[in-house]
């Protein structure tokens, strides 16, 4: 909220404090100042002057020569304006003056006549018609006849003021007001704070005889105060009042409405003024709206209400949505003669819900939402009446209607200075604590060491809150920084967290870049990924209020996020892209409120890679994290993958994931016209199998022998099966098997493939003899032939 800083001086004298110092100190005591704007920063050396004479310019018909008194000094100024006349008070830019927009004024001659400055229009002073509160006539700005001569124009228009913008935290509704902030400033700078009790004289009548208020829902309206003004003279407000509203970003409307806004800013209490002509039977009824009841609010919108909303009504109709906005049917009009000021306390939660339902957040509703001190209503309505009397714009009727339920009693808290010091880690004097609390408006019983909390500080509920009150004034930065004493904690990462780091390192080492993606996605991805209609992955956690369809469900697969990342890179023409992610999927669980959140390691790539590259990366990952027992078996049933180029990955005996080429339809769906490769691995499966235990095996002492085998196998025979057969047949002396060539072509019969293996044999305790080797190789070939029909070529 923005406040003209001069306003604070009504309650605490801050006139000597530079704006920057004010902003810093307030920020450090808890009222964050976002910035301070200096209103008339551009304007210099412009004073008020009285026109003593106006004569025609001797050389130009369109110009006039004025003699001015600017307070003990005479100036001759030439002007082209036609609205000047003797006796007027006008703004005079003297030699060296600076005006709005950076214009500067110098002495000079105009068509041969000396001109010692310039007379100014409101625009040249950077003042809008709205700020003036009226539309001035074209030409020089003619000031009020009573304006003193020779004073700085900035003083006349309050342009020497600064406007501070505060960011007030939600726990401090009391600081959403000039008085609340003035109190904070007084404590911050250690200055006296004076809050006079506003009072209006009022006439001999009593408002209770002229109007009646019934509150039918005291829970939603704990207090309703009202006072009446007769013989109202609706007119523009005086400039000083308009300026203060303007500084806070509130447009001036007329004197009565402006007063309600002025009090809103000053006290933080929203007010409303009803034209009594429009209140049937002079009877205000505070009641729930009827379902479907219609009202046209001041912003010219027809709104439909329901029974959860509170309205202000008369016997016939609603005249306001309580705490939100008044109705057009009872607004203050130019000929309004009798008004009723409403100053009421409404339940914050109910106002919040109503404003939300109506899509209508107003200055008033946002104040009520945060909770307003119910004791403010009386002071605020009296302040409004006091202003009416001060401005002489109406006759205040005596008395006040005050419909007040039982207000909560003042909260009492125990103050234990030693406990607070122990909590803060400080040695703050008890005297300082008491002084601070007193200055903030708390009552302190020094004998009992109890603190009574003022009604405007409903946020202070416990000793910790008292500690904050004390320490923010003492200064957070005056608390000595310490390092935690007490029991040592070991800390560090657990096994799963360490494994996550290792997986990431292993993937990066193989040239993959880590990505991070949104965990919510669109239901459309299941079709893009070709998931069957009955896929369990289509069972999702849905967001009730998503930003859009595309982010409306929690993902059950990471493949879509990966394909989107590949898509983006592909569309940017990035070549050979290899990515990985460790991220969560969210699987609904029957009978459980929360889904199962599982981490999935996802790999995705295109360009210069094939199936065996991505499979190799998975194997390399297993190797680096110590997953030893795993296998790959063909998986034609994974619809997102190429049916002939996908393997299910099994770790131990558990399914751990899949690796393969993305189905070409999937690539098409993501606009990628290159082959993409994907792998998804359950992090839990990795975590269950990863084994850091390493044992040293002695380096071999005896030489190894290699034999090459050129085999002829049916297409359907899998390399994995051949390897298993060889392993089994060779037994203990098998050192390694390497498949170094697979060939299909002219020399090979249709439906067959040639596979070249290098088999290495080694015994740990001797050099193998030719005879031994021959026997083993024969056994291998025999097994291959009878188990898989594989023959030597």
């Amino acid at each position: 909220m923005k406040i003209a800083m001069s306003w604070f001086n009504d309650y605490v004298d801050l006139s000597d404090i530079p704006p920057k110092e004010f902003a810093d100190a307030m920020t450090m005591s808890g009222s964050m100042v976002e910035g301070v704007e200096s209103l008339g920063a551009e304007i210099e050396n412009v004073v008020t002057g009285k026109i003593l004479s106006v004569e025609k310019h001797e050389n130009a018909d369109s110009l006039q020569v004025c003699m001015l008194d600017i307070g003990g000094q005479m100036l001759q100024i030439v002007t082209g304006a036609t609205n000047v006349g003797e006796g007027q008070i006008v703004p005079v830019a003297t030699h060296g003056a600076k005006l709005a927009g950076g214009m500067s004024i110098k002495k000079g001659k105009l068509r041969g006549v000396v001109s010692e400055g310039m007379l100014c229009s409101h625009e040249e002073l950077g003042i809008t018609a709205a700020e003036l509160g009226y539309e001035p006539e074209y030409g020089i700005l003619i000031l009020d006849g009573g304006t003193p001569v020779g004073v700085d124009i900035k003083e006349v228009f309050g342009l020497n003021d600064n406007v501070a913008e505060f960011e007030i935290t939600s726990n401090r509704p009391d600081c959403q007001s000039v008085i609340g902030l003035a109190r904070e400033a007084a404590v911050t700078f250690g200055r006296p704070f004076s809050l006079p009790v506003p009072a209006a004289q009022g006439n001999k009548e009593n408002v209770a005889d002229l109007a009646r208020v019934d509150v039918l829902d005291q829970a939603y309206c704990p207090r309703y105060c009202a006072r009446m003004i007769k013989n109202v003279k609706i007119a523009p407000s005086p400039a000083w009042l308009v300026r203060r509203l303007q500084a806070s970003g509130i447009r001036a409307i007329n004197n009565i409405v402006d007063i309600t806004n002025y009090v809103l800013l000053e006290y933080g209490q929203p007010m409303h003024a009803f034209d009594m002509r429009d209140v049937a039977g002079a009877h205000i009824i505070v009641r729930r709206a009827r379902d479907g009841e219609m009202i046209t609010t001041l912003d010219d919108q027809q709104r439909k209400l329901d029974a959860s909303m509170l309205v202000i009504a008369d016997g016939e109709k609603a005249v306001a949505v309580a705490g939100v906005m008044g109705a057009q049917n009872s607004e203050v009009k130019p000929d309004t003669a009798v008004i009723l000021f409403e100053s009421a306390n409404f339940d914050g939660a109910s106002v919040r819900i109503t404003a939300k339902k109506l899509g209508l957040r107003t200055e008033a509703s946002s104040k009520y939402e945060k909770g307003i001190d119910p004791s403010l209503t009386e002071a605020a309505v009296n302040r409004a009446c006091q202003l009416v009397e001060e401005l002489g714009i109406g006759e205040v009727v005596g008395g006040m209607i005050d419909v007040c339920g039982k207000l909560p009693p003042a909260r009492s808290l125990t103050l234990r200075p030693e406990k607070i010091n122990a909590f803060l880690g400080a040695q703050i004097d008890t005297a300082f604590m008491i002084k601070t609390l007193n200055a903030l408006g708390f009552g302190v019983d020094e004998a009992a060491m109890t603190v009574s909390v003022p009604s405007y500080r409903a946020d202070v509920e416990s000793e910790a809150d008292l500690a904050e009150e004390i320490v923010r004034i003492y200064g957070y930065n005056n608390i000595k920084s310490t390092l935690m004493a007490g029991e040592i904690t070991k800390g560090g990462k657990n096994a799963g967290q360490k494994l996550e780091d290792k997986v990431k390192a292993a993937m990066a080492a193989q040239g993959l870049y880590e990505i991070l993606t949104y965990t919510f996605t669109s239901p459309a991805v299941f079709d893009k990924l070709r998931f069957p209609a009955d896929s369990p992955k289509r069972n999702v956690v849905s967001i009730q209020n998503p930003l859009g369809e595309e982010n409306s469900i929690m993902r059950t697969t990471t493949l879509a996020s990966m394909m989107e990342a590949l898509e983006r890179n592909y569309s940017q023409r990035n070549e050979a892209v290899k990515l990985f992610e460790i991220g969560r999927v969210y699987l609904p669980q029957p009978e459980q409120t929360l889904p199962d959140e599982k981490n999935i390691v996802t790999l995705g790539m295109y360009g210069g890679v094939d199936f065996y590259d991505i499979k190799g990366m998975v194997e390399e990952l297993f190797d680096s994290i110590g997953v030893k027992v795993y296998s790959f078996t063909p998986a034609a049933d994974q619809s997102a993958y190429h049916p002939g180029r996908c393997a299910m990955i099994t770790i131990g005996s558990d399914r751990a994931g899949y690796v393969g080429q993305a189905h070409p339809d999937v690539c098409d769906a993501y606009g990628i016209s290159e082959a993409c490769y994907l792998a998804e691995l359950s992090f839990d499966a990795l975590s269950g199998a990863a084994d850091n235990a390493k044992t040293y095996k002695k380096l071999p002492k005896y030489p190894a022998v290699s034999r090459d085998l050129a085999l002829l196998a049916d297409d359907a025979v899998l390399a994995g099966d051949i390897a298993q057969i060889i392993e089994k047949a060779a037994g203990k002396i098998l050192d390694s098997i390497k498949l170094f060539d697979v060939y299909k072509g002219p020399q090979i019969p249709q439906g067959k493939k040639s596979m070249a293996y290098s088999v290495t044999l080694r015994a740990a305790d001797r050099t193998l003899t030719d005879q031994e080797i021959g026997k083993v190789m024969d056994k291998i070939l025999e097994s291959l032939e009878c188990s898989a029909g594989v023959k030597l070529r």
């Binding site: 919040r352 909590f423 880690g425 560090g492 193989q510 870049y513 983006r568 890179n569």
Partner: protein, 339 residues
């Protein structure tokens, strides 16, 4: 005999002198010292000498062989050196041509910064805790002293799954989950994804990351909060940054604070990055609210604690001067390669 040897020696020396390559040198070696070489044939002729002359002649022959061998060796060394030099000259590479690299990938910049943050706190005895993204309203709000209809719920535009389940708007619910399970002393950080119903632009994202911290023990003070977070700030931003704490408000801490560090771009003078303030807000913190402790079954009269939370994206953007939040989730490798 003697003359013969002298002559062989002289002739070989002469030939050696004019040898220009290792092959020529080899030929000389064979010609004089080989099985059919000149010296060998002289030695063979020794059998014809009278026995008493043989020792002297033998000595002479050995002398001649040694002399020739030494000369050959010397020449060999000389010619080998020349040959190696010539070879090396022919093998000169353009060392300014690009190296052949095995490209490693990289971790996401957010991960890299998070790893730094984790390391700092692990060094102070913190563990890492985790909690679910899809969270009970109770943990995300109510247990944190944010009841239904609390105005703070409006500022955190929440994605709802149903009335009682939300996408967590902060990592703070992990605090509650940890306190319910673990008895003090507690020192944890809890990094994770959080969700707010914000439309995407350069500074807003419906998904971002926070790092929560929690310490609970006997005798934990606000001074400890300051000291711990100052250590963190200095470790992350350098020992010479200045740190300040400003009063603030969070429903689940009391007193609450925001921590600023002096702008690491301008050093506190005021610049674009710090919006002329000289300070940059880094994190929110506070003493754990007694209501929150009590709600987790921890007696606030016995224990106290502090909590803090920071936005990972914000810290990372400032570290690398990244001006658009969207880049983190677009995963363009041209971006990812830069870190």
């Amino acid at each position: 005999m003697k003359e013969q040897l002298e002559q062989i020696k002289a002739q070989s020396m002469q030939e050696l002198e004019s040898a220009t390559d290792l092959q020529g040198l080899d030929e000389i070696r064979i010609k004089y010292l080989g099985k059919k070489g000149a010296l060998t044939s002289v030695l063979r002729g020794m059998g014809a000498l009278p026995p008493e002359e043989r020792p002297q002649a033998g000595a002479l022959a050995n002398q001649a062989r040694a002399a020739i061998e030494a000369a050959i060796e010397q020449k060999d060394a000389q010619l080998s050196g020349q040959a190696r030099k010539a070879q090396l000259a022919g093998e000169t590479l353009d060392v300014t041509m690009p190296g052949r690299r095995h490209k490693a990938g990289k971790l996401h910049p957010l991960t890299q910064v998070l790893d730094d943050v984790k390391d700092i706190f692990i060094g102070m005895g913190f563990s890492i805790a985790q909690g679910p993204d899809v969270e009970l309203d109770y943990y995300n709000f109510e247990a944190l002293n944010i009841p239904k209809n609390h105005p703070a719920r409006d500022t955190q535009d929440t994605f709802y799954i149903d009335e009682n389940v939300v996408l967590r708007t902060q990592t703070s619910p992990v605090q509650v989950r940890v306190m319910e399970k673990q008895k003090p002393p507690i020192r944890i950080i809890a990094p994770g994804m959080v969700y707010r119903s914000d439309a995407v632009d350069a500074t807003h994202s419906p998904v971002f990351h926070q790092i929560e911290g929690l310490v609970v023990d006997k005798g934990i003070t606000m001074g400890d909060l300051k000291g711990t977070l100052e250590v963190f700030a200095h470790a992350l931003y350098g020992a010479d940054v200045k740190v300040r704490f400003r009063p603030h408000h969070f429903p689940f801490t009391e007193p609450s604070a925001e921590m600023d560090v002096s702008c690491f771009v301008c050093g506190g003078e005021g610049c674009r990055v710090c919006k002329g303030e000289g300070w940059i807000e880094i994190l929110g913190a506070g003493m754990v609210h007694p209501k929150v402790l009590a709600g987790c079954g921890i007696d606030p009269e016995v224990y106290s604690g502090f909590a803090f939370g920071l936005g990972l994206e914000r810290v990372t953007m400032r570290r690398y001067d990244i001006d658009d939040l969207r880049l983190f989730f677009e995963n363009d490798v041209r971006f990812l390669k830069q870190f």
